[in-house]
Amino acid sequence: MAVIITSEQLAANIAVLATALSQRHPDFADVVFVGIQQGGAVLGEQLVAELQRMHPGRTIPYGQLDITFYRDDIRKNIIPPDKMNIHFGVENKTVILIDDVLFTGRTIKAALDVLFDYGRPAKVELCVLVDRKEHRQFPIQADYVGTTVVTERSDKVKLVNREFVLIPG
């Protein structure tokens, strides 16, 4: 197990992502943030806190999304669901999806399916902390990337105690 992003680097990454988001959406009009359970929801909270610090007084809607019921491998291994909490409408909004690691793209595909059961967003953008670019199985790319890492297909990249670690497969 090796640390590939330390907690200091993670904080710096989050600040960079928050700046990029602020540049693309200067007034955050009709923008909502949704973190994917579980890692994405943890990072989403930190990212939104950073945005809130940069833009005090502004309301930044933030919710959590769980893809369990929408997984394409669901019946190979039934897993208990996590909490869904989308307390705002997504109809005609720009939704910023946040995840910790972008790997095969299957999670994002499922997250898009979930999102569309809540309404029809005007636009969806994807923000990830770690991109494992070479392992994509779907035509899905992120709009905002913290760090791109080169890994083996069988490796696992996980967020553990504010650090990203690589567990060799």
Partner: protein, 308 residues
């Protein structure tokens, strides 16, 4: 985390962890039911047969809706309009249905143990939707979900089950469940409708006094008099039953606290519950029905493991 069983035959053989898992999964399905699109694709490749050998409105609709909200394919069987009326045995009927590639069987039968029998002979997962006077596990689960939702938990909660305990599968499943989850249970009704050794067998308190029971409890789960299962006279008349064990507004108002009123339906209005109790703010009868869909979705979802 997985269920410890591949069928839901009764609450009796579930663990406390199983029950908690079903209830917490149901919470997430309840959220699904509030969305604009009240449907998830989880069981898209599953076919479920609803095998009803006994009449049902709520339970059958509730299961069917739960299956559809999970994107499963469903077929419905009612004994009265099928070859069962021509003398086909239960096992033959089910094997014929299974040869059409059905994955799960939801079953109600007037014979206690019918789903247990089937589970020993067929490969499909079985959900008991009520068997004779034995168990009605999904009703107990939705009752528990509703109590938890309304009062915040089950541990230490005082629940009275009132009425025809003798013939009630709802009572039996509720007692198993509430005991496992640490609630306190008192059954209340006329002595002829309460099994003699229930205190020793199931670990509940027994009371023949309705007022005392209501004064004690936080939640009163009121049952229907099951005239269709009684082949002897167990009380003199419905009117007399109603006078001794019927709950009316006046009685509720005279208690020193506000209790929660539940009923699994169908209600015999004016017998066990008066309308101004059944339709009051204290009653969560319609929430029970709403929660039933979420709880049944959770059960079907958790049993639909392909590796079973």
């Amino acid at each position: 985390m997985q269920l410890s069983t591949r069928h839901l035959l009764g609450i009796k053989n579930l663990t406390k962890e199983d029950i908690s898992l079903i209830l917490s999964t149901a919470e997430q399905f309840k959220e699904v039911l509030q969305r604009p699109v009240k449907k998830v694709p989880s069981l898209r490749d599953v076919t479920i047969v609803n095998l009803f050998y006994e009449n049902s409105t709520r339970t059958r609709f509730s299961f069917e809706l739960a299956e559809k909200r999970l994107s499963a394919d469903t077929i419905n069987f009612a004994a009265s309009s099928s070859s069962a009326a021509k003398g086909e045995t239960l096992l033959d009927t089910v094997n014929n249905i299974l040869s059409m590639k059905v994955d799960m069987v939801v079953m109600r039968h007037s014979a206690s143990g019918a789903p247990h029998f089937l589970s020993q002979h067929i490969p499909a997962a079985i959900v008991n939707a009520g068997d004779g006077i034995n168990e009605h596990p999904t009703q107990a689960l939705l009752d528990a979900f509703s109590i938890k939702e309304k009062t915040g938990g089950l541990e230490g909660r005082k629940v009275a089950i009132i009425g025809d305990i003798m013939h009630s599968r709802v009572a039996q499943s509720n007692i198993y469940l509430l005991n496992k989850m640490g609630a306190k249970v008192t059954v209340c009704g006329p002595p002829t409708l309460i099994p003699k050794y229930i205190r020793e067998a199931l670990g509940v308190e027994v009371s023949y006094n309705l007022r005392e029971t209501l004064e004690w409890c936080d939640v009163a789960n009121v049952l229907r008099i099951q005239l269709e299962r009684q082949n002897q006279v167990l009380f003199s008349s419905l009117r007399e039953y109603s006078i001794a064990y019927g709950i009316n507004r006046q009685l509720l108002d005279s208690l020193n606290k506000e209790i929660v009123i539940m009923h699994p339906g169908p209600i015999n209005r004016g017998v066990e519950l008066d309308s101004d109790v059944a339709d009051s703010k204290q009653s969560i009868i319609l929430q029970q029905v709403e929660n039933g869909v979420a709880v049944r979705m959770a059960v079907l979802y958790l049993l639909a493991n392909r590796n079973n």
